[in-house]
Structures are given as C-alpha cells and as structure tokens.
C-alpha cells in the first residue's frame, strides 16, 4: 500500500531543505527573529506584527528569517507572560498598545510591563463617538448636555468590556465635561460589527469606537461622527469632523501601538533595533502599508517612547481611579 521509495525520497528532500536553510554569519543579528503578537490572527496587534515582518523582509532589513507567533489570551497577558520567559533573548520582539498599561494597572497582568525594553512607538489611531444619521444629537455638545441632564437616557455602545479603551475614552471625555463616569450606561458588544448593528437598528444612542472603524459607515452617511479624539483635525473622510477639543472639551485620547524587546535586552541589540526601526519607518513598504491600513504614522524612538509611556501611565492611573477600576 505504501511505496517505501516515495517515502524515503520525501524524507531526504525534507532533510535537504533543512540543511540548505541553515544559518551562517556572526555578530547581531545572527539568528531567526520571532515577533510575538499577543492576540489572534487578524486583530490589530497581529496586523502590526505581520506588517513589521513584511517590511523587514521586503526591504531586506533583517538578514535572517522573521516569524510571527500568536500568543492569545488574557487581554495580552499570555503574550506578556511568554515574553517574560525570554528574558535577555535578543531575538524576541513584541507589539503592544494601551491595554498594556491598562491591564497592568487593573492587575489583570501578573508581570509589570515596565521591565520590557521599549524600542519604538510606530503608529497611532484615535477614538470617535458616533450616532445614527437621523439622531437628534447634532453635535458632541448636544450629546454631553443630554448625558449631564440624565445619564441613564444615553446608552453608549462599545466593542469591548468596561474598563477597556472604548469605555475609558468616553469616560475620559465625560469626566472632562463634568459628568460622573460611574453613572453612564455603557453596553458592551462582542465586536465592532454587532455594536454598529445595534446603533443602526436604533437600540443604542451612540457608539464609541476606533476612528478607522467609523469610516465605512461615515462615507455611506448612515452615521454622524460627533467628534474625534485627536489633538488636531484628521484628513480624508474625517476632515469635517471636529476634534473633542474643538467641540469644547479639553481632552485627547490616543490609541498608540509600539514595539518592545524582552526584559533585559542587550544594549547592542537595543541600539541595532533603534536604527533599524527608524530605517523601516521610512521605507516605501512601510508607508504604503500604513496608507492601506489607514494608520497614522507616529514614529518615536526608544527614549521618547519610554517617556511617553510614563506620561500615559500617570494619565491612566488618574482616569481609572476616577472610574473605579483601580481601588
């Protein structure tokens, strides 16, 4: 039934592939690189990890193979625990965004992210608040006024559980406007799609979500975006949308994404990546990908990124204490 010769040939072929793929050379980097995406395939972290992988490969910035491994679970905690087992391993990178700080502060994570080696902040996105196109709320001011008058009358939808970005961003806005965040009615949906369905079906008043997620509906004129959380006006489809600041509320909210090395990364490797990531952020492949994915370039080097993270932590600590997520 089984032709032995074929099996042997296949086996030899496999070994041959293995031998030819063997690595050569010295100095850093001399081995294959692994980028950890702390969530499943298709999500924001995974897309970033794979975009970095592609840019490094296409632009020939990393001389060895680059692989992406998905460590799923615990809001990124499983990935963090994994990278903490790789202390001092210069061939491991990981991508993260604000939940890294949020989940450290609310003690979902067992490890402290501060031990990671920040390498660069790469991109950013913003949050928006949108209502259905025929909603009586024309401006962000209208909505906040209603929220002030009767917090229970405004049902806010988001695509993740309370205490995560969709909720905290709107809580930050409410707090700045003088509304007590604890009185808001926040309804969590499984994903952005079911949240938008509930909004268009008239089940909720408004929705808090990422700016990128709102564009399809905005262009189809099924929703009205009341405000975007950036410091300055966005271009493209969002060019007519006022920022929260312009609408009279002095807050911003940034959904940054950056790349880290494991705890105890060597100084050589840190320096090498500082230069390489800067180079990568300027390449055509990287810029084209950003444009296609509608991401905003927000490159910052290791030192600036570390400083930024410290500021973020202070800001989140204050916000999360006010909303009761830190007791």
């Amino acid at each position: 039934m089984f032709d032995k010769r074929i099996v042997w040939i296949a086996l030899f072929a496999l070994i041959a592939i293995g031998v030819t793929a063997c690595a050569t050379g010295g100095g850093y980097p001399s081995k294959a690189l692994e980028i950890v995406a702390p969530a499943g395939a298709g999500g924001g972290w995974d897309t970033l990890a794979r975009t970095v992988q592609r840019s490094l490969e296409v632009e020939k910035l990393y001389p060895q193979p680059v692989t992406v491994v998905n460590k799923v679970g615990g809001g990124g905690g499983v990935g963090l625990a994994y990278i903490f087992t790789k202390k001092g391993d210069d061939y491991e990178l990981v991508v993260y965004s604000p939940p890294l700080i949020i989940n450290t502060l609310n003690k979902t994570f067992e490890n402290n992210y501060k031990e990671l080696t920040p390498l660069a902040k790469l991109i950013t996105d913003y949050q928006v608040i949108m209502v259905k196109a025929d909603s009586p709320y024309k401006t962000l001011g209208d909505l906040i006024a209603a929220l002030k008058k009767d917090p229970g009358s405004v049902k806010i939808a988001g695509a993740s559980s309370p205490g995560s970005m969709d909720h905290l961003s709107v809580a930050k806005l409410a707090k700045a406007a003088g509304v007590e965040p604890g009185k808001m009615v926040y309804i969590a949906f499984n994903d952005v799609g079911s949240g938008i369905s509930a909004l268009l079906g008239g089940n909720v008043t408004c929705m808090s979500t990422g700016a990128g997620e709102s564009i399809a509906q905005l262009e189809a004129k099924t929703v009205r975006v009341l405000g975007v959380s950036s410091a300055e006006r966005r271009g493209g489809a969002l060019k007519d949308v006022p920022t929260w600041k312009e609408a009279g509320f002095n807050v911003t909210y940034e959904v940054w994404r950056g790349i880290f090395g494991p705890p105890g990364m060597s100084a050589d490797a840190k320096k090498w990546w500082g230069e390489t990531l800067k180079k990568m952020a300027g390449t055509k492949t990287w810029k084209e990908s950003l444009e296609k994915l509608q991401w905003v370039d927000a490159y910052a080097d290791a030192d600036a990124f570390a400083k930024f993270l410290t500021e973020e932590e202070v800001s989140y600590k204050e916000l999360m204490t006010a909303t009761g997520f830190i007791k």
């Binding site: 679970g73 905690g77 067992e110 309804i187 969590a188 994903d191 089940n203 564009i215 296609k292």
Partner: protein
Amino acid sequence: MWFFDNLALGFSVALTPINLFYALLGVFLGTVIGVLPGIGPMTGIALLIPITFGLPPTSAIILMAGIYYGAMYGGSTTSILVNTPGESSSVVTCFDGYQMAKQGRAGPALAAAAIGSFIAGTFATLVLMLIGPAVAAFALNFGPPEYFTLMLAGLTVVTSLAGRSLVKALLATTIGLAIATIGIDLQSGVPRYTFGNPELLDGLEFLVVAIGLFALSEVLVNLADLRQAIQERLAIKGGLWLTREDWRRATPAFIRGTLSGFFVGGIAGAGAAVASFFSYGIEKKMAKHKAELGTGAIEGVAAPEAANNAAAGGALIHLLCLGIPGSGTTAIMLGALLMLGLQPGPLLFQQQPQFVWGLIASMYIGNAMLLVLNLPLVGMWVKILDIPLYLLVLFIILFSFLGVYTMNNSTQDLFLLLVFGILGYLLRRLDIPAAPIILGMVLGDLMEQAMRQSLLISDGSYAIFVTRPFSLFFLLLAIVSITNPYWKYIGVGLRRWFGRGAPA
C-alpha cells in the same frame, strides 16, 4: 433588463482567465484550510491576506470569497471521517456523519455535505443578487432582545439531543452553560471562574472542548478495546454516491437547512455554529425518519451542512450591503477590502458595479468549482478509512493536538483537550450525551450577554422581550417548542376532566 445587464457584466468580469484562476486558487486553498485541523476560514483568510496585496480589488475579493466558501466545504470532511471537527460550524456534522462513516457510508455522507453546501451557497448568492440590500436592512431589526429570545428558542434544541434520559441531557446542558461563564464577563469586565489563570480570561476555547469530547473520547473508546473496535469496523459498502432513497430523504433536509441557516445564521446574525444546531433541531422535529437521527441518518449531515453555508452566505450579505461584518471571518475580509481601497456598504452597488457583480458571478462559479472539486475527492477521502485502525487512532491524536495548539499556540489548551477527552469517555460510559454540553457552550455566552444588554437598554424592564414583535415571536416559538411533546397529555387530561365533570 437591468438585472441581466448587471449579471452579464458580472460574468464578463468573473470569466476572464485570470479571475477564473483566482477563484480556483481560492476554493482549492480554502478546501485545504478547511480540512487542516485548527485553521478555520477566519485564520486562513487572515494568513493569506498578504497574497492579495498588489492584486486588483475584484481578483482579491474573488480569491477571498473562494477561500471562505472552500473552508466551509472542507470543514465537514474530518468531522465525517474521524469525528474531529475542523471548525466550530462543523461540530454538528459529527453527530450523524461519523456514524454513517462507521457504517461504511462515508461516501454518501461526504457527498451530501458537498451538495448541501452547494445548494446553500447558491441560494445565498441568489438572495444577495436579487434582494441583498433589502435583506440587509431587514436584518437591523434584530437587536439584543431578539438575540436573547432566539437563543432561548435555540436551547429547546436540547430535547432533541437528549439520549435515553432527559435529566442527563439537561444536566449536560447546564454544564455547557457553566463552562460558558468562564472568563472575563463582557458586560462588567469582571473575571469569573478564572482562578488567577491568565489563559482562562478569554474563556475556554469551544473547539478544545468539542475535539476533546468527540475526537479524543472516540480514541479512548477504540483504545479500550482495540480488538473489538477492529471487528466492528465496516468496510465501505455500497456506492460513494447518494442512492435514490438518500436523495428522497436528503432533499427536504437540504431545503430546511438552507432556509433555517440563512435566517438564523445569516439574517439574525447568530453565526454558522448556532445555525447548524438549529437546523439539526428542526430535522429532529420535522424529518420523516426523525428517530434515526443520531444513528447515521443522512438528514443529520445534509441539513447542518446546508445551514452553515447559508449562514456564511448571509454574513457576506451583511458585509457587502451594510459594511457590517456579520462574523469573525467577514470582519477580516472587511479589513482586507478597506486595504484595497473599497468601502463596503450601501454605496458599493452604485459606485463599484463591476466589483459587486463580478463577485456575485464568481460566487456561482466558485460554488460550482467546489462541487466539481469535492465530489471526486470523496473517493480519495474514504480511502483514509482503509488504513489500519491503530494508525488511524494515532493520526486522530496528531490531528487533534495540532488543531488545538494552532488555535492559541497554548500548551494549556492541550492539557484541557486531554481533560475533556477523558471526561468525554467517562460521560459515554455513563450514557450522558456530550452534544448538549457543546450546545450550552455555544448559546450560553450569547444568551447571557444579549439579556443583559437588553436590560441595560430598557432600564431594567423585562417588558422589552414581549413588546418587540420579533422578540415576542421567538419567545412563543420557544414555549411551543418546549411544551409541544406534552400537548397530547394536556389534551387527554382535559378530556378526562371534562369527561368526569359532565353528568353521566
């Protein structure tokens, strides 16, 4: 006629050699992804998106739609052959498909799965073409209250999954519901039953439980008595194709599965897994040979396989007509479309007619290709059953572990797989059905979240479930479905009562 003009435009786009090639490539890759353990349509598309970089948008979506459909077709293969579901939507196919294979009828089972998928896929494409936007707009009537009552109606399917004892089936359902409460609670962000374990925060993976309870427990049953198991195995008997009797029984099941799957999974947006369970429950109530379901009845393969494909087609309608992804897979496709510079939504039909109609035409072509590709494969797949049993057992172990590991890259999941495998074996010795555990897991979380979302919307009033027409309808459906078996007793009781009450 605008309609034929559009369709002609569509076929002129889809029939170009290059697009035909992408459709073929898509359905082929999709079939491979569907057959491989662990990698479902969602992961498959996410991984293959880089291939679509640089393709023209129409070719890219034709490729992706092909992968999507192909994966839905391929998912049933391992369910039928080795009781190992490749994705969540093909768990139900195990129930009767594997029994058919054990009786030497793997050929007709695989053929029925392919035909059911073809019918449902073609139906969904027809709906998209004729009344897509209207259907999509109608779908917005389904909010959290409707989901809750729909899931409640879905729970009544448990009575059809019950084995020899209803108490044991209900007990199994509550275990499934209890498993569904593990993890971070979506509405409050509070962790439940996680015992400080970070991997439990996202809950137990549905397929880990399903593969453990079905595939691994089957391995243990075989190992417990390998000699007996070898004797019981039947060689492939009869043809690989459906007999006339098969056709007579499967045809109504195809139709019921397609319609219920399209409604529950597509329009109401409950997803392909829930849709397949619903259609199985409907067969158990409506099929002519309902008593045979669970022992290898062809209806038990035909209906859920049609249902999960109809649901997939429905999700695609949501995506293209509303720009709202109706499932995890379509969410990833939305991302890919945006990358290609296309905005799915109501405007897509007007702004990009050659894109939309090209896709529609290619969906017909892709479905036909899949049928042509899959039917000859049936002969190849059933050969797998000819390999010695001990090797087959080892391959099922290999497949189960590989599939579970690739979902989350977690060895903890592998431990859980072993635990559920042993549990599944013990449950079988106790005559406790495992299927209701899976049903409880599928429905539990959706049901709880929908109920709590509804109550937040209504400021705590339970009236929201009866004041909305669709919600009321599902609620009545649930009540009828539960009480239905007892009506005859009520009738008898009433007659007796009145018989006694009336003076002689």
